[in-house]
C-alpha cells in the first residue's frame, strides 16, 4: 500500500478510534483497528485486490474510510467490549438495553411468558453463558455496526423467535382452525387447480418481470399480510406511495397475466375466465398451501433441534 494512503488510513483509524470511545471500555486502538479490518473484509471483500495501483488504492482507502465513518462506532465499541468481557461495557449495555430487550420481546412475542423466556435466552446468548473451551462466546461479537445496536438486537431476537416459536405458533393456530372447522376446507383436493398449467406459467412469468422491490412489496402485503405502514417503514417510503405501488402492481399483474394467457392461445374471454374461476379455487387451495408451509426447516440452530420431528402436516 502506498505510503500516503497508508498514513491517511492510519490517521483515519485514530480518528475513528477516538470517536468510538472504545478506550473507555478498555479496547486498544490495535484491537479496534482489527475489528474494523474484520468488518471491512466482510462487507468490502474486494478491497485488498486494488492495492497495487495507486489510484485504485486511494479510491479504496476513501471507500474504506467512508464505510468506517458510516458505522455505528460507539455501539460497535460497546458491543465488542461486552463480547470481550469488559465489566464497564456490560454495565453500560445493561443499563441501556436490558429493559429494552424485554419490551422488544414483548413486542415480538405478544405474550408475557414467551417474552420473558425469549429475552432471557437472548440475554444469555449475548452474555455468552454457553462457554466453550472455557471461553465465553458472546453473540455480540457478530455485531458489526452497520445498523443500530438496538435494531440489531431486535433483528436477532426476531430470528430467534421465528426459530424457536414459530412451529409452536403454527400448531396453536392449527388447533384454532380445527375449532373453527377450517380443516374441512383444507381437505379439498388440489388437482382442480393444478390442471391449468398455463395460468401458472403466465403468472410466474408476470411475477418474474417484477423488480425485487415490487415483489417484496407484493409479497409483504398480499402474502404476509403486512400493513401499508409496516411496508412503508421497512422501505423508507410513505404509506401513500406503497398504496399507489400496490394498486399499480395489481392492475399491472392482472394485465400481464391476461396477456400471457392470450399469448398461449386463449381468447380474451377465456383468459379472463381462467383468471376469475381460478380465484374461487385458489382461495380454498391457499389454506392447504399454508398448512404445508411448516415443513420447511427454518433457522436450524443448535438450540432448537427438538421440535423438528413433530412436524406432521407435510404433504
Amino acid at each position: 500500500m502506498p505510503k500516503s494512503a497508508q498514513s491517511a488510513l492510519e490517521a483515519d483509524a485514530a480518528a475513528l478510534y477516538s470517536r468510538s470511545g472504545a478506550a473507555a471500555y478498555g479496547v486498544t486502538a490495535e484491537q479496534f483497528a482489527a475489528i474494523l479490518e474484520e468488518i471491512l473484509r466482510k462487507y468490502l471483500p474486494h478491497t485488498p485486490a486494488h492495492d497495487s495501483a495507486l489510484a485504485a488504492a486511494d479510491n479504496s482507502v476513501e471507500k474504506r474510510n467512508g464505510f468506517c465513518a458510516a458505522l455505528r462506532l460507539e455501539e460497535l465499541a460497546l458491543a465488542r467490549a461486552c463480547a470481550a468481557g469488559n465489566e464497564r461495557a456490560w454495565q453500560d449495555f445493561i443499563s441501556r438495553y436490558r429493559q429494552k430487550l424485554h419490551s422488544m420481546a414483548l413486542h415480538i412475542t405478544r405474550d408475557a411468558a414467551h417474552a420473558a423466556e425469549l429475552a432471557d435466552s437472548l440475554f444469555a446468548d449475548l452474555y455468552g453463558v454457553n462457554a466453550r473451551n472455557g471461553v465465553r462466546s458472546s453473540k455480540l461479537v457478530f455485531y458489526t455496526g452497520r445498523g443500530s445496536l438496538e435494531g440489531w438486537l431486535r433483528t436477532v431476537m426476531a430470528q430467534e423467535f421465528i426459530n424457536r416459536y414459530r412451529k409452536q405458533k403454527r400448531t396453536v393456530s392449527l388447533e384454532e382452525q380445527t375449532e373453527e372447522g377450517v380443516q374441512f376446507a383444507a381437505a379439498i383436493p388440489e388437482p382442480q387447480y393444478a390442471s391449468d398449467s398455463r395460468l401458472e406459467a403466465a403468472t410466474d412469468e408476470a411475477l418474474a418481470e417484477l423488480s425485487s422491490e415490487d415483489r417484496f412489496t407484493l409479497a409483504s402485503y398480499y402474502l404476509d399480510g403486512r400493513t401499508l405502514a409496516e411496508i412503508a417503514q421497512t422501505l423508507g417510503l410513505h404509506e401513500s406511495s406503497v398504496s399507489r405501488r400496490l394498486d399499480r402492481l395489481s392492475t399491472g399483474l392482472r394485465k400481464r397475466i391476461l396477456a400471457g394467457l392470450r399469448m398461449q392461445g386463449m381468447s380474451h374471454a377465456q383468459a379472463a375466465e381462467a383468471l376469475e374461476t381460478d380465484v374461487r379455487d385458489i382461495r380454498l387451495n391457499l389454506r392447504s398451501r399454508l398448512l404445508q408451509d411448516s415443513d420447511a426447516k427454518t433457522f436450524p440452530g443448535n438450540k432448537v433441534p427438538a421440535q423438528d420431528a413433530s412436524d406432521g402436516t407435510s404433504d
Partner: protein, 471 residues
C-alpha cells in the same frame, strides 16, 4: 386496495425460499444452499442480522440494498424477521441514551394499540386531509381563477341562465333585495347609457362583452385586473393613490348603479384582505393605467367589470337570491386567496428550475454532504459534521441534512452557510438518527419540513425549523 388474482398469491408463495436461515454463528454466509419449489432462482445466502437491520434503517449502499431486497422478495422468513424487528413506536428507542423507562414492560397491549393508532390511522388520515386540501386548491384555482376554464364556463352558462331566470327573478330585483338588485343595473355600466328598463337585452350584450373581454386581456392579466378593479374600491387611498377611479364613471348611472359599486365593494373588501403583494404588479399596472389615462378608463372599464359583475350576475340570476351572491363572494375570496399562492408556487418553481440550471446536485457520501456543480462529474465536500450524515433534502435554495444522533443542519443559501437545528418539544429533543428528511411544498412558504428518525419519530416544522411538532 385492489386485490390481486389469487393465482398471484399462490405463485408468490410457491416460489418462496425453503432454505434455512443462518444463525449468528455462521458469520452471515448461508449454511446450505436454499432450495426453491418454483422455477425462479433466488439469491442464496440469507442476509445476516446486521444487514437486515441496516436495511430496515435505510443505511445500506444501493448495491447492498438491492441484494437484500432481492433476497427478501423471495424469502418469507427474512421478511417476517424484518417485520417483527420493526421498532415499536412507543418504545423510547433512542440508541445510546441511558434509559430509565421502567414502565416499558408494563404496558404491552396498550402500547401496541397506541402504536397501531399512531401508525395506521392517524397518519393516513392526515395525509388524506392534505391530499383533499390539495385537490380542493387545484380545483378551485382552475374553476375560479379567471383563466381558460372560467372563460369557457361563464359565458356558456350565463346566456342560458340569464334569459330563463330573469323574468322570475324580476320582482325580487325590483324590490330592493340587497344582493340581486345591484346586479341588475350593473348591465348599464357597460357604458350604454340606456335606462335599466331592458335588463335582458343589456344583459345579453353585457355577457357578450364579458366573454369578449377575454381576448382583450391576457389570462393572467385578467385576474390581476379583476383584483385591481376591486382593490381601489375597498381600500381607497391605502396603498393606491387613485381611489376607485374605475368606479367613478359608473356613478352617473344613478343610485342603483351606486349600489352596484357598493356590492362590488363588499366582495372587493373581502378580497382585498387576502390579496397579497404578489398580485401587486398587475394591480399597479392597472392602477397606473387608470390614473394616467382618464378617458381610457371608460374604455378600459368594461374589461374588469364585466368580469366581476358577470360572475355575480351568473350566480345571482341562477340563484336569484342574496345567498347565492354571498356564496359567490366567498368563492371569490377563496379564488383571490389562492391566486397569490399559486403565483408564489410558480415563482418557487421558477427558482428551483434556476437552481437546476446551475446544475447543483447533492449527495451524501460516507456521512459527508457533497455538492457537485457540474452534474456529478466532480464533488466537493460541503458539510462535514461530527456525526455522519445520513440523508438530505433540498428545496429551492433551502437545504436540510440530517445524520446520526439527531444531527440536523439547515442552509437557506444553497449550502454556503449552515446552521445546526435542534428540534425539541418541551423537554424532549430529537436525539435519534435522522433517516429521512422531506420538504413538503404545500404551496406554502416556508415549506413544511418533515424529519423521520430511526426510531419512528416524525418531527415536522412549518416555519422553517423554529418550532417543531412531533408525531
Amino acid at each position: 386496495m385492489t386485490e390481486v388474482p389469487k393465482i398471484v398469491h399462490d405463485r408468490l408463495r410457491a416460489t418462496r425460499l425453503q432454505g434455512s436461515l443462518p444463525r449468528q454463528s455462521t458469520s452471515g454466509q448461508g449454511v446450505s444452499g436454499p432450495t426453491v419449489s418454483g422455477q425462479t432462482v433466488p439469491p442464496p445466502a440469507h442476509p445476516d442480522a446486521d444487514l437486515l437491520t441496516a436495511f430496515a434503517e435505510q443505511a445500506l449502499s444501493a448495491t447492498e440494498r438491492a441484494g437484500v431486497l432481492e433476497h427478501l422478495a423471495y424469502c418469507g422468513d427474512c421478511r417476517e424477521v424484518l417485520a417483527l424487528a420493526l421498532p415499536n413506536a412507543d418504545m423510547p428507542a433512542v440508541p445510546g441514551a441511558t434509559d430509565a423507562e421502567g414502565d416499558a414492560v408494563a404496558l404491552p397491549a396498550k402500547s401496541r394499540w397506541n402504536w397501531l393508532r399512531s401508525s395506521t390511522l392517524a397518519r393516513p388520515g392526515l395525509r388524506w386531509a392534505a391530499l383533499a386540501a390539495g385537490v380542493a386548491v387545484a380545483v378551485s384555482v382552475l374553476l375560479l381563477h379567471p383563466g381558460k376554464l372560467n372563460q369557457a364556463t361563464l359565458p356558456s352558462t350565463n346566456p342560458q341562465v340569464a334569459p330563463a331566470s330573469l323574468p322570475a327573478a324580476g320582482p325580487p330585483l325590483a324590490s330592493s333585495t340587497v344582493a340581486s338588485s345591484p346586479v341588475q343595473p350593473s348591465t348599464t355600466l357597460a357604458r350604454t347609457s340606456e335606462a335599466p328598463a331592458k335588463p335582458e337585452l343589456q344583459m345579453s350584450k353585457k355577457l357578450k362583452a364579458g366573454s369578449a373581454a377575454s381576448p382583450r386581456a391576457s389570462q393572467s392579466g385578467q385576474s390581476g385586473m379583476m383584483l385591481a378593479g376591486n382593490r381601489p374600491g375597498s381600500a381607497p387611498g391605502n396603498t393606491l393613490p387613485a381611489p376607485s377611479p374605475a368606479f367613478s364613471p359608473s356613478e352617473p348611472g344613478g343610485s342603483s348603479s351606486r349600489t352596484v359599486t357598493e356590492s362590488v365593494d363588499v366582495a372587493a373588501a373581502a378580497e382585498a384582505v387576502v390579496a397579497e403583494p404578489s398580485s401587486q404588479d398587475t394591480l399597479m399596472a392597472r392602477n397606473a393605467m387608470a390614473r394616467n389615462t382618464t378617458p381610457a378608463i371608460e374604455k378600459a372599464k368594461p374589461g374588469p367589470e364585466p368580469d366581476v359583475i358577470g360572475q355575480q350576475e351568473g350566480l345571482a340570476y341562477a340563484g336569484a337570491d342574496s345567498a347565492g351572491l354571498q356564496s359567490r363572494t366567498r368563492n371569490e375570496m377563496a379564488a383571490a386567496k389562492l391566486a397569490p399562492s399559486a403565483s408564489q408556487a410558480l415563482a418557487n418553481h421558477a427558482s428551483s428550475s434556476q437552481a437546476l440550471a446551475n446544475n447543483v446536485t447533492w449527495t451524501i457520501k460516507a456521512g459527508v454532504l457533497q455538492r457537485s456543480l457540474d452534474g456529478g462529474q466532480t464533488w466537493q465536500n460541503t458539510l462535514h459534521t461530527d456525526r455522519p450524515l445520513l440523508c438530505y433534502a433540498s428545496h429551492n435554495r433551502d437545504l436540510w441534512t440530517g445524520g446520526q444522533a439527531g444531527t440536523l443542519f439547515h442552509s437557506s443559501d444553497n449550502g454556503l452557510s449552515w446552521a445546526q437545528v435542534q428540534p425539541s418539544i418541551k423537554a424532549y429533543s430529537l436525539s435519534s438518527d435522522i433517516t429521512r428528511i422531506e420538504v413538503r411544498d404545500n404551496l406554502r412558504s416556508p415549506a413544511e419540513i418533515v424529519v423521520s428518525t430511526s426510531n419512528n419519530e416524525i418531527w415536522s416544522s412549518t416555519d422553517g425549523g423554529k418550532l417543531w411538532d412531533k408525531k
